[in-house]
Symmetry: C2
Subunit: 385 residues, 2 copies
Amino acid sequence: MTLSTMSKAVLTVALLAPLALVPAAEPPARGFPGRLPLTKPTDRPLSAAMQRAYDFWGIASLGSPRGVSQNDRMELYSNFRYSRLEGFDYSCNTSRRDPTKVLKIDGTYYVWYTHRKTEAPPSGTGKATDTIPSADWDLAEIWYATSNDGFAWQEQGVAVPRPPKPDYGWRSVTTPDVLVFKGKYYLYYKGQPIHSSDESPGLELVRAQGLAISEDPLGPFTKHPLNPVITSGHETCLFPWKGGIAAITSLDGPEKNTVQFAPDGVNFEIMSSIEMPPLAPGPFVADAFSDNEDGRGITWGLCHIPPPVDATAPGNWAENAHFTLARFDCDLSRDTHRSNFKSTYPGRYDEEAFFSSRAHLSGWLLNQVKKEQQQLDRNTILQQQ
Amino acid sequence: MTLSTMSKAVLTVALLAPLALVPAAEPPARGFPGRLPLTKPTDRPLSAAMQRAYDFWGIASLGSPRGVSQNDRMELYSNFRYSRLEGFDYSCNTSRRDPTKVLKIDGTYYVWYTHRKTEAPPSGTGKATDTIPSADWDLAEIWYATSNDGFAWQEQGVAVPRPPKPDYGWRSVTTPDVLVFKGKYYLYYKGQPIHSSDESPGLELVRAQGLAISEDPLGPFTKHPLNPVITSGHETCLFPWKGGIAAITSLDGPEKNTVQFAPDGVNFEIMSSIEMPPLAPGPFVADAFSDNEDGRGITWGLCHIPPPVDATAPGNWAENAHFTLARFDCDLSRDTHRSNFKSTYPGRYDEEAFFSSRAHLSGWLLNQVKKEQQQLDRNTILQQQ
């Protein structure tokens, strides 16, 4: 078959190009949509998308903000950039993950995190022993490290060791998250309810986040009656923002990759849609415990990053887990304006990202796709039937 | 300073760990949130997030769907995986980008794309000549390629050459997108209005998408009065879905990284939040021109990917542009159910992605961050003021 035998419709796709590029009747200056009014127009109809731009996002969210341009939602919008850390050298079967908030005390930064150093890699629940972990966070304890600049760290050793067997918690001790808000201690935590009713064959595993509140930092913590308070995200990341609490959700659920805000710390609303947010972020929060209803936000913190997956190796995700700590930077702060982090165009991923081990189509998934494609792909309908 | 001199609040963060993990008073089966009802409960208050889960997303969107579990929004949710292509070998100063929809004719796949082969790399507008391009898409023409499986391609050569100078369009010919809908030809295109009023110092550059409709595939096309119809995304990607039109937005604007749907092809609503969608996707759409109000959706297509940025090299983004075509796979189809692509947990990015050239903090941005940090980072407030 040659091009000349194709139908008019196919040729049209190719030939439309010059037409699409030559709106000769109108000079470019009058082209669509001309001039966007800063207030919602009342003299012309708007598409659903433009109504959302005025009513929900705020019209400033459509532009690449420069200088003073901000609105409530754009203040809680940011891009994220990542840096490797010094001082956390990898050695065999060592994992560091789930950093706490970073605190600064007398000019020195402190972070706590889940640390595992075992004689063997995670083996899955079936093969785990008292010294062989089931998963990356098994047989772990809490360590801490210090830094003068947030990039180079000195690992100080254990902060909270595992209790002796068979005391409760002997198997692993991992990192929590807590804030002080309205005179009480707010503990946000992840829940993994399993819904196995037959009425709902599809609802297999739900990750959501709950809130427990206490008068005392040592508890007892009472679960909030409105739980769950966040339906998306995989790990908690919360910080004081103005008079309420802001949250970064990543990785899971219909509202993943958003920044949310709850004036009351309970009822969270979506403020912005973000790209490639940090995993399990532990932000530097100077005012996490200040409880002054003037939360200033964050500009950086630590997070964890998984290693590449070896798609050719046997085993499952647990066996591939040796997480490392990294640093993220952003602009979710009321005290700075970093235009590069505020651009609504975060920049393209490159081939390193698209073909990274977890975004690349490979293994059994590639085989499934190739097999299904033969059944699925009908010829294009070139004439209306 | 040692741990023993820190305040109670700091210690609390570390010591809370065992408390958070030991809800001893309640067995795990009764833990939060227990059992999620499939219909919205009326006998208890719900958090704002749970109200959205029932009223907007649909409760099935909270679970990892298996088997039959779907709702309208989850049908237009997908993860994406990427593959390198055979047959598009890179040679110096050659770029391939912005693929059209893929068509299948008599069992063979066809794609058209913007192709540039010049004597020098893009140089920016100031240095461009009749033979040196200003940007990656300058001095380009439309080429096409064929394939039997969508992975291995044979480049066939030029389909739409540039007209001779000084005819309009001599400088470059690039790829458009068109659909047939309700008996007319729908041309979706990108606009880049610049709003330079002083009333709005921040609204610098807005990317949005417009719609033009014609009775005839060769035009004339009339711009729709409700333009812009999509406020986010950088390139258009639209396909028939049921009785309307679905769109993938990526890369730009407050609603980037979403799948949207317009029953009328004009008024688009957000259906799902997606992660790492393809750039400039050209999906395989068997029914792009069938106009039968029964759009089946898509499972794969071609997209383009930029090369890594060399942060140490002089120059700007235009000089780093030699795009390549790649393949994406997904499940935005009514004819298949690929559970791996439907998981609300797309999987973590790994260090290859987080430290890729465009996500890594480096160069002047790293210097800016380090400098600002010294002014921004106050000591953590450990006691309430």
